[in-house]
């Protein structure tokens, strides 16, 4: 391999400093002055990182390639790569053309930052690979090119300092998330410290704890709920799932055509039960780690015909179908266990907008609209009750809404909200979404046509409800322990 002499190495390095300073760093200043483009606080940090990499280059020009300089360059390249990826993550998933700031050659600056820092790391590795082992250190004359690099560096960094003064102000002001366009007119200068405000967290808004139905059911007292003066529904009888299930029940659905039930458990079991709940007709145990994360299961629904839908709390779903010709060997990848008579049709994810970053604990199917329906549960970050509807045809989002409250429903306090309910079971009948809340043992009735919470009823006597099914004029409220409460279905 051909080794570079130190003089050759330093010459190359000087050109790299010139290119870095004149290109992305100087170009960014030009964008500001000529086009009014102002960097956000994250852009400033990435620009500073490029400046510091160039500064390390000046150190090497002046003092030789000492190890701590090279180490610092690698650290800066790595940190810059992280910053670019972290920044890009804010925008990469947006819709087409919705990037932030002015694009250069069709690519936004935060993506260019990723490219530049990646190149920096590659170049450092290449130079180290080719450099001569005979390292001479000590103060050395930079030469004409080196002096030009230093002067250019100071001029460009000085221009950046001027732009930083105009755009972000003197300390303690700092950069902004949404800076206004660059102007030399002081009346248009906006200096702010708003970025220092905010919650401290590793993952920011993505710190969402998994829902805990048991914790939600810890307060079943309807009197503590966010709605006051509700009518009580009486439990007219109790039934019990007699078929043996592995694990605790997480949802129960009923097929009105056949009278069969679909039960899911916290051990990834999906069971088709007969109309008496006493016998399992089909059984599979889903592999929760294959292809998508299915843990834990939270919802079940019949989609008409023989198609079954099973949902996990993160809005991932599996479609199943009883099939006497199913091949156990083919289904092995999808099921941890099977009776050999169930086929998996699809396994994918529901995408939501209003319900994004929220978990669900229920699934319902509207046979008239041919839509699957989920209802969000609150978290410390997001306290909203969002009904999401997904088209049966393509399993994509049809609509989402937060139900209005009908005039007759009265909050029990000024700060109370529907989002305090934790819906763990849901079913659609006659255009109405019936949803049972484990918190405060309450049945909510949402009119899907006008998106209004028409009525709410307390159901004293429930303990940890996890599912809701309809059987003619009655509702069946399934509990985690396998008991099923029967109540008359109210029609508001």
């Amino acid at each position: 391999m051909i080794a570079l002499s130190q003089d050759r190495l330093l010459t190359i390095l000087a050109w790299i400093v010139v290119a870095l300073i004149a290109g992305p760093v100087g170009g960014a200043v030009w964008l500001g002055i000529a086009h009014g483009d102002s960097p956000c606080i994250l852009c400033w940090a990435q620009r500073t990182s490029m400046v510091l990499i160039a500064l390390v280059g000046l150190f090497v020009l002046r003092y030789g390639p000492r190890r701590r300089y090279l180490g610092m360059a690698v650290l800066l390249g790595t940190w810059g790569l992280y910053m670019a990826l972290r920044h890009s993550a804010l925008h990469l998933a947006r819709d087409v053309g919705q990037g932030f700031s002015a694009p250069i050659l069709g690519v936004h600056t935060y993506a260019w930052s990723w490219v530049i820092h990646f190149i920096v790391l590659v170049v450092i590795g290449k130079l180290l690979l080719l450099s001569d082992d005979q390292v001479v250190t000590g103060v050395r004359e930079p030469g004409h090119l080196g002096r030009f690099a230093i002067v250019l560096f100071m001029v460009v960094v000085g221009a950046n300092a001027l732009q930083a003064f105009v755009s972000t102000g003197p300390p303690p002001y700092i950069g902004q998330a949404d800076p206004v366009r660059f102007s030399l007119n002081p009346r248009h200068w906006v200096w702010s410290r708003e970025e220092t405000e905010g919650r401290i967290s590793w993952r920011g808004s993505w710190t969402i704890p998994r829902p805990d139905p048991a914790a939600a059911a810890a307060d079943p007292d309807p009197a503590h709920g966010p709605l006051a003066g509700l009518t009580a529904l009486t439990i007219t009888g109790w039934e019990r799932i007699g078929a043996p299930l592995e694990g605790s029940l997480t949802d129960l659905a009923r097929d009105p055509a056949s009278g069969r039930f679909l039960a899911t458990t916290d051990r990834y079991g999906a069971y088709v039960l007969d109309s008496t709940l006493s016998r399992a007709l089909h059984r599979v145990v889903l592999d929760p780690g294959f292809s998508i994360d299915l843990s834990p299961l939270a919802g079940a629904a019949f989609l008409g015909g023989d198609t079954l839908a099973v949902l996990s709390t993160n809005k991932n779903y599996v479609l199943l179908r009883p099939d006497s010709t199913a091949e156990a060997a083919r289904e092995w990848r999808r099921f941890l266990a099977t009776d050999g008579e169930v086929t998996e049709l699809a396994r994918s994810r529901f995408a939501t907008l209003r319900a994004r970053q929220m978990y669900v604990l229920s699934l319902a199917y509207d046979p008239v609209a041919e839509e699957l329906i989920t209802v969000t549960v609150p978290s410390p970050r997001h306290r909203r009750l969002v009904v999401s509807r997904f088209a049966r045809s393509d399993l994509r989002l049809s609509s989402e809404f937060e139900p209005r409250t009908a005039p007759g429903l009265v909050p029990s306090g000024p700060d109370r909200a529907l989002a305090e309910y934790v819906v763990t079971g849901a079913v659609v009948e006659d255009g109405l979404l019936y949803a049972v809340s484990a918190a405060f043992s309450t049945l909510l009735v949402v009119d899907l046509r006008d998106r209004t919470l028409r009525a709410a009823y307390t159901v004293p006597g429930l303990a940890h409800p996890v599912g809701l099914a309809a059987r003619g004029p009655r509702l069946l409220v399934a509990q985690a322990d396998g008991r099923v409460a029967v109540v008359e279905r109210p029609a508001p």
Partner: protein, 55 residues
């Protein structure tokens, strides 16, 4: 604060150019500037070190 950071960098570059015998001071300024840059970035992300994506 970005202004302060650029002034620190300018100071380091000035030392490299005109006072090269004070390399230790220049390198210290480089380290301080790196730390300030990292701090400002973390403030800008509201200290959400990890991006807003699934992990």
């Amino acid at each position: 604060m970005e202004l302060l950071n650029f002034l620190i960098i300018l100071g380091a570059a000035w030392i490299i150019w005109r006072r090269p015998e004070r390399e230790r001071l220049a390198f210290t300024l480089l380290v301080v500037s790196c730390l300030l840059m990292a701090l400002l970035f973390l403030i800008g992300t509201h200290t959400s070190f990890l991006p807003g994506v699934n992990l």
